[in-house]
Subunit: 230 residues, 2 copies
Amino acid sequence: MVKKSPVISVTVDAVVFGYAKTEGVSVLLIRRKYPPFKDEWAIPGGFVLEDESLEEAVKRELREETGISVKYLEQLYTFGAPDRDPRQRIISVAYFALVKTARFMALKADTDASVAQWFNITELPALAFDHKHILEKAIQRIQAKLRYEPIGFELLDKKFPFSDLERLYVSLLGREIDRRNFKKKMLSLEILDELDEYARNDGAGRPGKMFSFNKQRYTQLQKEGILFEI
Amino acid sequence: MVKKSPVISVTVDAVVFGYAKTEGVSVLLIRRKYPPFKDEWAIPGGFVLEDESLEEAVKRELREETGISVKYLEQLYTFGAPDRDPRQRIISVAYFALVKTARFMALKADTDASVAQWFNITELPALAFDHKHILEKAIQRIQAKLRYEPIGFELLDKKFPFSDLERLYVSLLGREIDRRNFKKKMLSLEILDELDEYARNDGAGRPGKMFSFNKQRYTQLQKEGILFEI
DNA sequence: CCAAAAGTGTTCAGGCTACACCCATGG
DNA sequence: CCATGGGTGTAGCCTGAACACTTTTGG
């Protein structure tokens, strides 16, 4: 028996994470311009075109809707409940993306704030469709992944003080970390380069030394079967 | 700008894992009856119908094509390269499934062996479409998952001797395990019940005590934040 | 009695956790 | 000189890895 394929549309959606020292980890959302769920907040995304890959579709939609371009992009999960869109049967392949602090800041100038906006992950608004569900899954995934892959660095600038890295982990994991133990473990992985540079001092306190993630070294260690784990 | 959704079909595919004491871990494949890739081996699957969920589609296709029904089913990854099917644009949501030994045996009687057949994961044939890629991803996933979730039990009978569990891990991870350390760790998790029963002795050797997985207890421990890790 | 498979404890090393005081800077 | 944030070491505990002989059964 050969079956006919029914009419099902395919979209991609992207949960974009950003980090800023003062605000912790945030997610990029857009305000919908058209029904259904007009004027409600939603994860950016849209239909996949006939001759583009899923990843290309995500990158295109992010460019069109928010103006940002991401470097780290990973497939999250595919949502396909028959009633998840009131108009028609739509299956959504969800991704999560990480952007560096610098780009994160850039958005604030570039984009009309009423269309695309960052929300701290602890203060999320109501969301259209099943997007709340998608976002929860994305947060779960990034929390889990943070502990066995060095993805945190994708959210930081190239050079960062150690305290930034620590704050990022605290913000994402939602609990305190012992500074000494964290630094000891992180340095023992030998994937950080200590630079001869100090953070600019904005306000008070001793300026911290800058570090950078040594991706080459990480790839090398990975090949040798040595794992990142925190 | 509102975009029209292009014509893209959605299929589901399922990598079904089974385990038998004598043969180790195997995968269920079907021989294709129609072009493209006629007479080649493929992962079972097919088109998603308009009003069924993705999981329902997987279960239906497995029933239709192989006669088995699975209990454990988990989404693996969605494959959507524009050229992955020579006929038209098709996006496939891949799942992996685990079946208990008993059902695994049942198939051999039920099904025409030239249509559906088990293959040991170390002796796989060439596969249609990008199914080799899908299968590799599934094996990676189950190997990783085995170490932090008690999914191995889904492949065993309700009651099993400890040696079966050990053989399963050896077969899936592809390396030897120290029996004493493995048993110590497994028992320390307190998710196994030791029964007052012994394995039937087929051949030689001392009969082993039977155990069963205490799922309730596992769920309880999980709630308390205690993790399975092996 | 021989072959096959199951059962069982100890030791050592390395990693994880807990914990508190000093230092550099700006205001 | 005070407030703020960064930098640093040690000791106890626990977990994971290595390792070999005895017991039960069937043939």
